[in-house]
Symmetry: C2
Subunit: 207 residues, 2 copies
Amino acid sequence: MLPEKTIERLSMYRRVLQTYQDNQSEFIYSHELASLLHLTPVQVRRDIMLIGYTGTQRKGYSVRELIEKISQILDGGAQINAVVIGMGHLGKAITNYFNSKRSKIEIVAAFENDSTKINRIISGIKSYHIDNLEMLIEKNHATIAILSLSPREAQEITDRLVFAGIKGILNFTSIPLNVPEDVYLENYDMVTSMEKVAYFVKEKIKK
Amino acid sequence: MLPEKTIERLSMYRRVLQTYQDNQSEFIYSHELASLLHLTPVQVRRDIMLIGYTGTQRKGYSVRELIEKISQILDGGAQINAVVIGMGHLGKAITNYFNSKRSKIEIVAAFENDSTKINRIISGIKSYHIDNLEMLIEKNHATIAILSLSPREAQEITDRLVFAGIKGILNFTSIPLNVPEDVYLENYDMVTSMEKVAYFVKEKIKK
């Protein structure tokens, strides 16, 4: 298993390489890839060595081959089905965003407790009452849940998700959640990002 | 200036402490705070020492005092004004989210190029045509910009923001941006978070 930070960077490399490829470039040097992502060339070479790929000294990495190699690592295996809990603006934004990309991850169902949002197609997927959560996770073989609901209900819903067999949670609610060790939890935290920007802006203005 | 990772953790400590305080707890030990956030007690103690606060061995940290101390660091100084570029579902979600909290950061204006979204109040703030960007950043003394627009336009708008005096950018567009050294850029990347969850879920299922 690769380290978390390596997986993060592989995901970023691939996205940058895809843009690079669209611009008809066949090869890229580690220092070019590094500079596009504000990393060091050593870091880039180490990550790419970890996935068993090597470029040539003269030309660098083949963009196409490197994208393929990263895709084998990130997308390898079967399609992964995900569910979204909470179809406010954030739930809709997430669903539009992911399902508009070709990807091995597909959002297959949404859950709500607001009756005006139930049994309707929202952002291209069917939205169900939260009571059907366990049944539909099983039926759809969903293994990932995206939480974009109110923080108040987040832990209770998380417990139900884990019990229903969810193995990975992407938490947008800004509160810490408890999950068992065999469930992977990623917190995607807007408040912290914003507070970081604000702090460094203040420091920059001071100078 | 404190390190980025420390600022991130201070933001998370404060959020957890606020919930803790709501539950009427007066004191918290470093190991308790650490366990709520899946960190080590050593890490927590080091961060809190860095901001010049100390608890007592017997009782731990005073929750109220620690929140105050962190708030001095994160919120100290004047209010910070921010603008949002792009009022799709994501822009609306972000605006609702931040302006519903008491915070030193306030979103004061939104910008769009979709004529159905211009000169209207959306999610509680006025939305303007993107042509007015420079003028309104200056008028509002905005120093932070939140990018929730299409990736295609992101770099061009970023250049305009920097030129207009923006000092911090929170980038939701999933493409890397170039900014000068005196501008702080934070990438908030949904795709990477989702790909990380998917990778670790696959590894967990394999086992």
